[in-house]
Symmetry: D2
Amino acid sequence: MVGGGDGAFIGAVHRIAARLDDCYEVVAGALSGNPERALASGTALRFDPSRCYADYREMARAESARPDGIDAVAIVTPNHLHAPVATAFLEAGIHVICDKPLGIATAEGEALAALARDRNRVFALTHTYSGYPMVRHARELVASGAIGDVRLVHVEYAQDWMAEAGPQSAEFQRTNWHNDPERAGPTGCTSDIGTHAFHLAGFISGMQPNELLAELHSFTPDRVLDDHVQVMLRYPNGARGMLWSSQMATGCENALKLRVFGTKASLAFDQENPNELWLTPQGGSAQRLTRGRVRGAAAERATRVPSGHPEGYLEAFAQLYRDAAARIHAIEAGLPVPAETADLPTVDDGVAGMKFIDAVLASDRAGSRWTALDIGSV
Amino acid sequence: MVGGGDGAFIGAVHRIAARLDDCYEVVAGALSGNPERALASGTALRFDPSRCYADYREMARAESARPDGIDAVAIVTPNHLHAPVATAFLEAGIHVICDKPLGIATAEGEALAALARDRNRVFALTHTYSGYPMVRHARELVASGAIGDVRLVHVEYAQDWMAEAGPQSAEFQRTNWHNDPERAGPTGCTSDIGTHAFHLAGFISGMQPNELLAELHSFTPDRVLDDHVQVMLRYPNGARGMLWSSQMATGCENALKLRVFGTKASLAFDQENPNELWLTPQGGSAQRLTRGRVRGAAAERATRVPSGHPEGYLEAFAQLYRDAAARIHAIEAGLPVPAETADLPTVDDGVAGMKFIDAVLASDRAGSRWTALDIGSV
Amino acid sequence: MVGGGDGAFIGAVHRIAARLDDCYEVVAGALSGNPERALASGTALRFDPSRCYADYREMARAESARPDGIDAVAIVTPNHLHAPVATAFLEAGIHVICDKPLGIATAEGEALAALARDRNRVFALTHTYSGYPMVRHARELVASGAIGDVRLVHVEYAQDWMAEAGPQSAEFQRTNWHNDPERAGPTGCTSDIGTHAFHLAGFISGMQPNELLAELHSFTPDRVLDDHVQVMLRYPNGARGMLWSSQMATGCENALKLRVFGTKASLAFDQENPNELWLTPQGGSAQRLTRGRVRGAAAERATRVPSGHPEGYLEAFAQLYRDAAARIHAIEAGLPVPAETADLPTVDDGVAGMKFIDAVLASDRAGSRWTALDIGSV
Amino acid sequence: MVGGGDGAFIGAVHRIAARLDDCYEVVAGALSGNPERALASGTALRFDPSRCYADYREMARAESARPDGIDAVAIVTPNHLHAPVATAFLEAGIHVICDKPLGIATAEGEALAALARDRNRVFALTHTYSGYPMVRHARELVASGAIGDVRLVHVEYAQDWMAEAGPQSAEFQRTNWHNDPERAGPTGCTSDIGTHAFHLAGFISGMQPNELLAELHSFTPDRVLDDHVQVMLRYPNGARGMLWSSQMATGCENALKLRVFGTKASLAFDQENPNELWLTPQGGSAQRLTRGRVRGAAAERATRVPSGHPEGYLEAFAQLYRDAAARIHAIEAGLPVPAETADLPTVDDGVAGMKFIDAVLASDRAGSRWTALDIGSV
């Protein structure tokens, strides 16, 4: 693991996710650039002191040299380090599980994609929400034609943690790396959670827009990056869409919601109630499909406990780790990529996210003009 | 009543609404342009045959001449007739209760507004949803500062009745006046339900946008007018907004939903569950405010039965009729407009709606450019 | 109308319900036993002064003698007057629409049933909740076999208006007739709302229990009658059930909820969301059936506006008035009872409710023993 | 681990729960009485072959003799083995984490409680639902007086997996140990899930009933034990309650729901939506309290990820494992029981559950008579 020391939320989440399905042992880390904190954080996690690194390059080198070296690395640093860290480990032959967004520029993302392909290493990107069984079931339903041709895609991701007023919070916002273009990249809310929303829309609808129009906004004067973005989408088949993402949405916790309307039926998913998916036929009655009860290979593969026993965010996260493990095993055994891991987000999804950010920026700077977007066949 | 014969849905609704609070008797009508059907429809409603008119001008003339003539007329015709019919009755000194939208052009709307003012007649516009107690309570909460400064306004109005495929439905769509610019005006979905959404956003938020950006769309090749519109909004105080309206939203019944996010709290209202309003303080717990239980003068005035005994669409409609009656009584008695009727939508709201349509059209034709909107102080 | 003067909630509701579908004119009343208040209340409703009575017997006599006398009377008095008032009007040949419960003793109920039958008069009992379209649809679904054989019936009706503490409330409770056995009958909560729950359970399940076990309780020391009742039910076919009713259920508004579990599917209805009905097949996904969208003759007959335009309590009430009007017309025309009025609750349902109260009392007094109940074929 | 081989659902759940918070390694087991299957199941979990036992007594002996022997054992056998297995391990000085119910008779439960106390070993009983943060918050709210004096406790636990008809299912039911008094104990549904409901009611309300009245029922002729139970409860303070549990509740997944009504407010919890808890003040608006957002020591201790990132059943289960680990560490270190583990269900809760079963049986056999229940101060 690189990053994630000192009680960082997402580092702890990655470790639980790695452990949950018993596919990994977490044994080494460059948890901090400060050697003392790296050692303290690592031994707190029961790493051998020799495997507590203060430099990720050193870690990549040393671990690849050990006979019992790590198979995969989890990258949970601020955004600007994703690409350099991932590059170091891929070059050392180590598989990568990287937090989103992929990085801070499309070019570095494309280089990573090429490198991962070249070295035949797994590069999993933790678009966590694609690990939910009902999200995978939604994707499967759309792909099967169950909702007909997709006409509308509405996705939103709203939080309120930046809406707090007061000096303490202002301080927090100034020092926080999410508001620093050097470390966060050229957008704020857009890359932090907008890319999740964008990925989810593509994951379920099976389509990518070829044009978008966007407005970035910051509600707080001293904030450099956007805390709010709204986007209109056009798809090659004539479908339309909207994406809204905000960290100023008073009262919202982690409100990632998707609706897809097809010619035959519509689907609705709310991340805060992830054990259910709503399917409404045209002119008909809404049905509440539930994890564990609904039939479908994709959902069943991602399900651990029976219906009515809720699974949550950590299980979704663990699912990505489990899928990545299956791919790593296959590669190490010289086998083809297992078909049942097709839902795992990879470096290619990361590149798509970077292109989305580029197009949003370009549209916004041009006064919200319609802007072309070419994501290809993710 | 003008229009609304032959089992027309909205005509029957107006009649129930007029009756519900015992403020009106429905005694005369030009229910059809065909004299025989006008007579048949009218006598079916127990009108005196002498008061079953085939021509609204004749009705305006005759009723204003009768000692027991009508005080007010309800106009439930297709859009293009709203202005001429209303003009005839206003000129005859008869108060008007008119279905939305106000008409098919801003100019005719402004002329109507001037005429109503000039003749000192009530001109109520049935933006029904503003009659719900919890909508009025929301407006009152925002005005009182309970949610702080408004930052975001999200409104959507989605139906699925135009999404039906098949020849029968296509036939219906071809013949339906909603798709005929001569009778519906220059937009379809936008004027039919988009204006309701626009009115509700302004009614609750207490603000009108001064800029918008829009895209109209029709998903059906043989449809002349839009069946789908999405709009971004900018407000003078820096707030942002989105408006989406569609009659192609598979599985949606009458899904008018509004969210307003302020600096202190957010509000959410869903027309299909009109007895509740959600209030969520920043960083806090959502509260389900309910009609009959919540304290507030506006809500209490619009409430007939105790909490837990649901009121619905017809009661909201009746509320507009009741408010209009109170204004009519005041005018006839030479009294000032009663303060408690301040929530009644009028011809001025209608003009605002026409300007909204104009701006949407202008933006769409300019490739979704940001377009100024000047609604004034509605 | 007898009773219901002075702003009494239920009197106003009856008048709106009578008006809503344009089946009645409300023209006469004995709104109070005090002549001055009877006159004042009546003229406030625009009754002719000659038709404002202070004595219901006088009203029955006078109205039956007038050529334009009333066809039907609405009885909205305290419980102990239901039977004497209804008797007077039935004997005068006037149809009766009576608030629930039917009275204060089974014997008087049975006498009323006999009298109504003997005089061939309509006797409608306002078990309001049976007027909801989705309740009627539920009944139709069960009768059609859609949920298989009924195994479980769970019904509850919870309110919190008696749970208020403090002297003002205690005062209210002392003076209120609901706590006076002379006027309310031998039970409190049980007859006030428990009978509604009992009727709804029978109405939808199509079954009546033949055994019950009950516990009455009063949480307030100075209250004579029960404010809380819980009942276990056994049905002839082996089904089981529970009925709970309380006016001490802190935080509950008017929470009447029913669940029926059959061998094939279950149904759930919540009176506070009356436009929907949940149908869940065994092992399957819950479906949200909605008023206006669901197909079914019973629901469609009781529906005024399209799906997504909520109807509520007043419309349900109006439905009973409409059904009663159809029966009255048929009787006056010498025609058979119209099949489409089969859902109207009558004096027989009232007798069933009285027997339910008797059995609850008997069981409670015997230490919650299983007690036989013979309701017959309602 | 004893039991839980061969893909048994609950064995896998225990292993994930043990792993999730990194408090345990699962290293040994008597997963089956068949030596070959015990070895195969164990090695599949990467146990050393020397630690794959076919006899739990042998396992207790051998593990207690090893220097690296297990600290604690998880017991996931059928009910009749809980007591003998737990006895063997307690006698070997090994802490116990045991599935519910505690056993098949009160006497064996009391003996276990005495033994655990005598040997100063932790005996955790996996009443999983008490591990949910919002359940613990509810308990804390009640204890703090936030809802006033408790008046009503309603709990239900409904599933539908026994409601399946047809020969396959009948086969399943015949062979299943849940229907075998030798292995399940004297009740079926009552001990399987009724005890969960009973525990939850006591856990949150902070009260135990001193009287109950019950009816057991089996809807399937060939079923020996109950598949349905309904119970009325009386509490020493005059409160009343109902408990319903069924495995024949068509369409229910794992519907454990609790409502507690106090003099000031009511609480409602639904296990299928475990990240929220509803608090409704008397006469006021319902509030949706959410995990991660609500303040409270008990909830915060049991929370891993921020609000809006749902936690579920496995996390609740893991919480019990984490609490047990904290107690084990304290005991091994000679420290007092940590105050923050006070919510952990123990052998005493198991004894309370056995007494509940006894009282239910006694009441049912006496024709649903009120029956005394003495649980003491759990």
